[in-house]
């Protein structure tokens, strides 16, 4: 519990004694521990803040500085994000590496199994969701201080990343994944027009909305990297994030979602790339779910969230991947 770390850190930064109240840890989000709290200075200064810090066992290994820089990159822009405040890559400030943001008031995130999470506002949310994605992809990756990447490497690098994770964490035969990896390696897509900022986990559930049709903030940038914009679009449109609606992110029909993204990004969907990245999205998902299961099996965690990842999403993606492979033959 980081209250004492927070009080000490903020007292130093504000130059006055600071107390912490309303500290609350959010459930879910295995890559980070997330807390909200009110910081109250002796002078009466009061701010509602959010801390994201590393947990002892993470579903995915990520770089908190890259996440922080991505949020900084879009702060104050037409891509809604929380206001970033401070990042510490070490344990001194928050007990483990982490960063502070200003709280986005009045926001809620959709649950994976929640039917029609946006209700009558689904279309409005979808317009904002895919517009924001297009704007992210139109931005210069140098603004987020991401490393340079050659367009020709975009697909191969991501494939190698998730293949290495699979090889490290697989604990039993996974013939559907093996077949998918073979197909992806043998059918690399054309290079993207240019390298984009890829959010890496852009989907329903990873943004806040106000319940009345306004998208308040895009969250969970911990997997941000340079790459092909089709990667994010395919992940955002993966059936797992559709809440069983058949519509991307439980919002717009697919054609409208793509048109919205194209209008905002200035990019044109490449059908060949789209086919490749849609299959890749399911492969990425399955590797994440297997890695979660491996954490449990090896006794590094008994977090029910990781058990959930190793059961329901795993089975979902096994079904959809089998269907996708069948469609390729």
């Amino acid at each position: 519990m980081p209250a004492e770390h927070l009080a000490r850190f903020l007292s130093e930064h504000w130059g006055e004694p600071v107390s912490i109240s309303g500290l609350k840890r959010f459930h879910g989000g295995s890559a980070r521990q997330t807390y909200r709290f009110d910081a109250i200075g002796a002078s009466g200064r009061r701010e509602a803040l959010v801390l994201r810090r590393d947990p002892p066992s993470s579903l995915i290994e990520t770089d908190r500085l890259a996440e922080y820089r991505a949020i900084q990159c879009f702060a104050g822009s037409n891509v809604p994000v929380p206001e970033p405040i401070f990042c510490d890559e070490g344990p001194d400030s928050f007990g483990s590496p982490g960063f502070l943001m200003r709280e986005v008031p009045g926001g809620a995130a959709a649950g994976l199994l929640e039917p029609e999470p946006y209700g009558e506002h689904a279309a409005a949310i979808g317009q904002q969701f895919f517009t924001a994605l297009g704007r992210i992809h139109a931005a210069d990756p140098a603004r987020a201080r991401l490393p340079a990447m050659a367009s020709a490497d975009a697909a191969a690098a991501r494939l190698a990343h998730w293949k290495a994770a699979f090889d490290a964490d697989a604990f039993r035969p996974e013939p559907l994944l093996d077949a998918a990896f073979r197909w992806l390696a043998a059918n690399l897509p054309p290079p993207p027009e240019y390298i984009s900022i890829v959010h890496g986990d852009y989907r329903s559930g990873n943004f806040l909305h106000d319940g009345a049709g306004t998208l308040l903030a895009v969250l969970d940038w911990e997997m941000v990297h340079p790459g092909d914009a089709h990667e994010d679009l395919a992940w955002a449109c993966d059936p797992l994030w559709s809440n069983f609606s058949g519509r991307p992110a439980a919002t717009l029909p697919l054609a409208e979602a793509i048109a919205t993204w194209e209008a905002a990004s200035g990019l044109t969907l490449n059908p060949e790339s789209w086919r490749w990245w849609r299959l890749f999205a399911q492969v990425q998902g399955l590797v994440i779910w297997i890695s979660a299961a491996r954490e449990i099996i090896d006794g590094r965690s008994h977090d029910p969230v990781l058990m959930f990842a190793g059961t329901i999403p795993y089975r979902f993606h096994c079904v959809t991947l089998a269907r996708a492979l069948e469609a390729l033959t």
Partner: protein, 126 residues
Amino acid sequence: MSLPLPALLTALANAQANEVAPALQLLGQPAAPDANYAGGTAATSALILMIAAAETAARPAREAACAAAARALIGGAADGRDSRAAALGALLAQGDNRALALLKAEAEAEWAVLAGLMLPPPVGIE
């Protein structure tokens, strides 16, 4: 499923003792910093318990059906999830789409166990 049932049950037992029991104590203390987190932990754990129970009941029949369906193609390797998966994977690598059909049927049968938890089948996006 990805998490083998024995491993899942062991982890659940640990979770009940180390995560859920403390969580339940916190549920009665809404001002405690981790009370909200505890509520989510308890709810997710309850869902996993239901999955484990459904899987325990369904697995023997599903396993027998999947083995019977695969036996004509891979013989004795059909018995047991991992040997069946390895044998079907080897055939799939050679382009045998009968192996893919069997793997798909097994994946759909695994998902069907979740129907008891009111989860509908995966819906494609086209």
